[in-house]
Amino acid sequence: MNANLLILPVLIPLSGAAVALLLRRARRVQADWTLGTMLTSLVVSVLLLWDVWQNGRALVLQSGGWPAPFGISLVGDLLALVMVVMSQLVISMGILYALGCKDSVAQYPFFYPLFLTLGVGLTGAFLTGDIFNLFVFAELLVISGTVLTAVSDDKYGTEAAYKYFYISLLAATFLLLAVGSLYVSYGTLNMADLAARIRVDASQPLLPYAVGFLMAAFMIKGAAFPFHFWQPDFHTAAPTPVHAVLSSVVVKLGIYGFLRMTTLLFIEQTPAIQAILIVAGIAGIFYGGLGATGTYDAKRMLAYSTMGQLGFILVGIGWGTPLSIAAAIVFAFNHSLIKAAMLMLAGTVASRASVKSAAYSVVTGLGRKLPFVGVLFFIGSLGLAGIPPTNGFISKMLLFRSGIEAESYLPLALMGVGSAITLVYTMRAFRKIWWEEPVPGIKFKPAGDVVLAPTLLLLLVLALGIWAEPLVQLALDTSTWLADYGLYVTAVVGN
């Protein structure tokens, strides 16, 4: 496939956003256009992934035709494309949900363009092979996400967006410090080139700083303990379609970052990074799980749960074996689908409440009138808790298995306890909303958000639980590619 096509997953939504800006007065057209754009981009991404997977060769686009370390390279290796497909899939579903959503946000003139640029930022950050370019894409992501949350119907939206923006600026500063340190030390921004040069000379005095800063930056992006503080506040306040995207795929940027750090950039520091990831991951599993148990709001419960689930993925990366990395990728992919669907379902319930809120004080017992949503939510809960026949089981089984192979029993045991907590909080939420008595006098709106998007996502959740082979094979192949950092380097800068 022509390497030029690699720009399309970025370019299609970006042009789509630009056109959508012109459609500010024709909201319906704008919405349909946005969905069409994202779906087109998704199809292209899937084709790219398929091509790269089948040919076993990464696609590399030297943008502007400038040879590798001098221009900006876009690198479509398996990891990047898996992440892109995952993100664009969930973002498409988020847009689909927004189309049938009662939030007033979806009626604002620039909601959809911002949704698309959110997708551009995320996609670009995965695809780029240039560490400064990654920073730029991440900025696009941050600004879009901030605005989308700030205009939320939730009364805390603006405050939460402010916090997020502030902390993201902090992350950006860390990232920039890391980029600067690396550039000063190695004179290049190209990740492949950097990796090769760091491999040759790891004695640069600024290298340790760069590792630390980059680590902190990605820990913020990936809501890893103790850099997670922005996450539950920010995600909960976001409008449902945005929350579904933020809490599922956007946080995976951190995961992606750690994978690149440990398999490409800092091979020498990898053991130290991995040790930190395991500790942070376990802490996140417990903190997120406990927070999800203790919170007062179904959407907030799911936001906390994201932190917990990311913890599992971090531990997988921390083990660093080929199988555990594959497990982390499968886990990341599956979690995105489950979490997005669950959030949309919580949003659907909230949209039926008298005040638009997913707080248990409002939604308790509301589910009795929404049995189908209940079935979906139950399936999603099983997915989060890792119970068959959902894809969550595949994630957990793979991760446990890789932990046993890595002979890392203490984290494994703690993960087991964490899984039990997952069961507690998902079942509690289900029980509250679907089984308990509604608060007396509570009103129930006759119409709410459309459940098409979460239904599709959950069908996928079940399909990937029953027939997991393609995803697992893909993850294993990705992991095999990652095992040899030289593959990436030669693909981008040649020998």
């Binding site: 970006l14 686009l61 001098f70 604002y108 400064f132 370019n133 730029v136 026949p389």
Partner: protein, 987 residues
């Protein structure tokens, strides 16, 4: 069934579940009576039953049928089934009792609108349970295992409007689900050691498993899973609470089948993992304690279902204990016990359900004397109870005999035998007393509560318990012996080698018989004295209640949850402090200080160089930057602080000019000014009271408080770290950038630019620029969204001011904040915009060769527009510059222009965003130094986007107010101030 059709029993039952679902969701449900519906569903389970008994005989030689499909070939995982006599025995129980329970449930739930849901769950459970006992590998086993947990959860909580149903369901799920996680881990370790997940491999790797140093771990985990499922002490606590399920579910899941899943698993793994010291002690102790606990607590109960639940626990304990043994006799007892127990316990449960259903209570203190009203139930209950009590000629007697025979097996030491046998005798006596109580208190004697009315159940409802009850009797029939080989084969599968099973009731006068007599005597005594015994039991407080452990586990989770959510209290300052310190910790962790220490040790101060004057200027700029930055923090008035910040930025400009880095300096200066303008406009937009409040708050924060020390510490540590980075960078910098020489060499020949920075922006790193302008454009869009729409949450409905009241109409042409501006300033403004446009155009045209580019040109135009807003006010500016309303359109066109020119380049040159000189291609006569190229288009696009974005910001910030009230209030305030001024001028 053959190997290829092994999945049929499972499939049939799941098809039945699907059928139940379809009927339940369709209007057909109204036409179909529930008993008929349930009977139709029973056909599915009965088919599975027939398939099972038709295949069982072929397995008597101890062989196993295996079926598998490659499920996850990349991991070597299969979905497989393994079907031997042991599986067949369990399938026999699951599908057989299942058929009866379905028929029974149809009667039990007559008149329940949602009965189809119950039946659907029941079939789902049945399919999963058959799956568990037929699973051929650990993954399949686990999948179905969890399936039973989940369906059990749904069945217990069927009457979900009752708190106890929800609680009981959750408790069961939490305990068995937690056990499931442990079991999965344990089984994965087993598979890891055995080198395969399927039972064929695992059963062949017994040696490796037992000798592995992971053996204790896997044993503990797997046993934990099995114990929780099979309600072993101390995890037994969920089973009594699960009795809040409708009785058909209790009879089926919580006595006959699901609770035996753990037993099945242990039996299945016994040949591979058993026969070790650890196995023996773990199973014997846990099973023994469970047996005694269940029997003891059962006698205490008043609720008939609770009584049966505890006796089930006791029986399950017996089974676990038996699996722990290494003797053939134990497995004979085990298989007979399982069969006997399933028969009598399901019968008893169903009878209790009938009693409950027909009288409305199952409390023994209210029942009594029902034998006349419910004669058939009475007979069935008596048969079941006699079997449970272990009296001849029932199956239960045989079970107890064989059990005692196993306990006094000669391989045990006398002490072991003595302990085991006496425990069994005690438990047996307790169970006998309970059986007596069950029958006596319910059916005999006098009715204790006159308000309880009873009548016999319809015959199909009685049929269901009648069959297992009568089967309990058949053991005494002569042709009962024909099933001996089947049972022997099942026992052999669990034991590992052949087991001889005989169903002879009379084996002569031997130790087991004597012990049996002892147990019966003791039990009869207990039954006779039950009032005293129960009173005595109730006096002993339940000192060790494991419910408290469960509750405190949940409380621990809740306490953790409390602290987790407390830490997440929304305090940004705390968040930042933790994050910043963690960041410092991270950087230190990677040993960043070491190189710094080395560097500092070798640090020499730079000697002053020749360019002394410049050095002085540099030092001056640095001091200026620091002072103004400090001032921006310390100054109290917001406006002054903003100005100070702007000055600090200008200081950086000076440094850049001295570097010399003219491009950076130019961008910095225009951006700095633009930022000031926007901030000042934003301030002007804020209502005065709000500004005042914010200032007061800032002042309070600045005053000294203990927290300030902590904040200072955080700030200092981060500051020190960043200083260290800078210093290290400075000292270790001799390295030349690797990419700069390339840029220097190729900027002119390849990109056609003498200004390298220009070439970097629009050529070498064009993609960065494209995304950067998207960010910039979206910032404008974002500000528009925030001010126009986010404000709606706070009561601002977003209505635009259309008509203003006449007295303040004249104020429309005032500058921002109502300032009156002189005509001199007006003239300046008139002049500045065209000038800015000319400068902008030159920047765009010659950006490739000189400092300045599309970005600076855009900002310069925007600044001029901003000036207009300040001078003329919103309405006047909008009137004079109508193109300003195409703000978002400019952003859009700018972005599309880049995309199009990039695509054009892709089609002509083959690469997206590659440089292309259209002027040269078309040989256009263009002025010298100006090239019509992609770079030029890019510069235009950047400029457009920037102007569009800033216009968006200015349009929203410069707007006097979103609501009629706000605008009116603002203008009225201005009018008032004006009057005051006039008065002062006069006075």
């Amino acid at each position: 069934m053959s190997e290829t059709t092994l999945f049929w029993p499972i499939l049939i039952v799941f098809i039945g579940a699907l059928f139940a679902l379809i009927i339940g969701l369709s209007p057909l449900r109204q036409r179909l009576s529930i008993p008929l519906f349930a009977t139709l569903l029973a056909i599915f389970s009965f088919s599975a039953f027939l398939l099972d008994i038709s295949t069982w005989p072929s397995l008597n030689d101890g062989r196993a049928l295996v079926w598998q499909i490659n499920w996850l070939p990349s991991l070597g995982l299969t979905l497989s089934l393994y079907y031997d006599s042991l599986s067949a025995l369990f399938v026999f129980l699951v599908s057989g009792i299942g058929t009866l329970v379905l028929i029974y449930a149809g009667q039990y739930l007559k008149g329940d609108e949602n009965a189809w849901r119950f039946l659907h769950y029941l079939l789902l459970f049945m399919g999963s349970m058959i799956g568990v006992v037929m699973a051929g590998d650990i993954i399949t086993l686990f999948i179905f295992w969890e399936g039973t947990s989940i369906t059990s959860y749904l069945l217990i909580a069927y009457k979900s409007k009752y708190e106890e149903a929800r609680e009981g369901a959750f408790k069961a799920l939490f305990i068995t689900g937690g056990g499931g996680i442990a079991m999965l881990a344990g089984l994965l370790i087993v598979a890891h050691v055995a080198g395969g997940t399927d039972f064929v491999t695992i059963l062949q790797s017994g040696e490796a498993l037992r000798n592995s140093n992971l053996y204790p771990v896997m044993l503990a985990l797997v046993a934990f899973g099995a114990f929780t499922k099979s309600a072993q002490f101390p995890a037994h606590i969920w089973l009594p609470d699960a009795m809040s399920a409708p009785t058909p579910a209790s009879a089926y899941l919580h006595s006959a089948t699901m609770v035996k899943a753990g037993i099945y698993l242990l039996e299945r793994l016994n040949p591979a993992m058993g026969s070790t010291e650890a196995w023996f002690w773990l199973l014997t102790l846990v099973g023994g304690i469970t047996m005694l606990t269940g029997a003891y607590l059962g006698l205490k109960q008043n609720d008939l279902k609770a009584l049966l639940a505890y006796s089930t626990i006791s029986q399950l304990g017996v089974f676990v204990m038996l699996i722990g043994q290494e003797v053939e006799a134990a497995f004979k007892a085990l298989i007979i016990g399982i069969l006997a127990h399933a028969l009598y316990k399901s019968a008893l449960f169903m009878v209790v359900g009938i009693v409950d259903h027909e009288t409305g209570t199952r409390n023994v203190t209210r029942l009594g004397g029902l034998r006349r009203a419910m004669p058939v139930s009475f007979v069935l209950a008596t048969i079941g109870a006699l079997s449970m009590a272990g009296l001849p000629p029932l199956f239960g007697f045989l079970a107890k005999e064989t059990l005692l025979a196993a306990a006094v097996h000669p391989t045990f030491s006398p002490l072991e035998s003595y302990l085991l046998a006496s425990a069994i005798v005690v438990a047996g006596a307790l169970l006998l007393a309970q059986s007596g109580m069950l029958v006596y208190e319910t059916f005999l004697g006098q009715a204790k509560d006159k308000s309880v009315h009873a009548h016999e159940a319809p015959w199909p409802m009685l049929l269901a318990p009648a069959i297992p009850a009568l089967l309990s009797l058949t053991v005494s029939l002569p042709n009962a012996r024909t099933v001996e080989p089947y049972l022997a084969s099942a026992a052999a599968n669990a034991f590992g080698t052949a087991v001889k099973v005989s169903l002879d009731l009379w084996t002569g006068i031997n130790t087991p018989l004597i012990l049996s007599v002892v147990a019966i005597t003791l039990g009869s005594l207990l039954f006779g004295q039950r009032a005293q015994v129960r009173a005595w039991q109730n006096r002993i407080p339940a000192t060790v209640s494991f419910n408290r452990v469960y509750e405190s586990a949940l409380r621990l989770i809740d306490a953790g949850a409390y602290w987790a959510t407390r830490l997440q209290g929304g305090r940004l300052r705390l968040y930042l402090a933790i994050m910043l310190l963690s960041m410092v910790g991270l950087v230190l962790r990677f040993g960043a200080t070491l190189p710094l220490v080395n560097l500092l040790a070798n640090l020499t101060w730079p000697t002053p160089t020749a360019d002394g004057e410049l050095a002085i200027l540099r030092i001056f700029s640095l001091v200026f930057i620091v002072v103004t930055a400090l001032a921006s923090v310390l100054l109290e008035r917001d406006f002054a602080a903003i100005l100070a910040m702007g000055a600090s930025g200008l200081g950086i400009v000076a440094l850049m000019v001295l570097e010399p880095a003219p491009d950076v300096a130019l961008v910095q200066v225009v951006v700095d000014i633009l930022a000031m303008v926007i901030l000042v406009l934003a301030l002007a937009r804020l209502p005065r009271p709000q500004r005042r409040k914010a200032q007061e708050l800032t002042l309070k924060l600045k005053s000294f408080r203990p927290g300030l020390l902590w904040d200072g510490f955080v700030a200092l540590s981060v500051g020190a770290l960043v200083t260290a980075v800078t210093l290290t960078a400075l000292v270790s910098r001799p390295r030349e950038s690797l990419v700069t020489p390339y840029f220097e060499e190729n900027a002119k020949p390849l990109a056609g630019a003498t200004d390298i920075v220009g070439a970097i922006i629009v050529d070498f790193r064009a993609l960065d620029t494209l995304i950067e302008i998207s960010v910039f454009g979206m910032a404008g869009v974002g500000m528009y969204m925030l001010l126009r729409y986010a404000a709606r949450k706070y009561g601002d409905v977003g209505a635009q001011v259309e008509e203003l009241p006449a007295p303040i109409q004249r104020l429309r042409s005032r500058g921002i904040g109502g300032a009156k501006t002189s005509s001199f300033v007006h003239a300046l403004a008139y002049f500045s915009l065209p000038l800015a446009l000319v400068v902008a155009i030159t920047h765009i045209m010659y950006g490739h060769d000189q400092p300045g580019d599309g970005f600076t040109s855009g900002v310069i135009v925007s600044l001029a527009v901003g000036f207009w807003y300040v001078v003329f006010g919103y309405y006047e500016t909008q009137r004079r510059l109508p193109w300003l309303k195409y703000d978002a359109q400019m952003v859009s066109v700018g972005l599309l222009l880049v995309v199009l020119s990039g695509l054009l380049a892709a089609f002509i040159n083959g690469t997206f965003l590659s440089p292309l000189n259209f002027g040269a291609m078309l040989a256009l006569p263009l002025p010298k130094g100006f090239y019509l190229s992609t770079a030029f288009l890019f510069e235009v696009a950047i400029s457009l986007t920037v102007v569009g974005s800033v216009t968006l910001m200015l349009n929203t910030l410069g707007h006097p107010g979103q609501t009629q009230e706000e605008a009116k209030a603002r203008l009225q305030e201005i009018a008032r101030l004006e009057e005051e001024n006039e008065k002062q001028a006069k006075g």
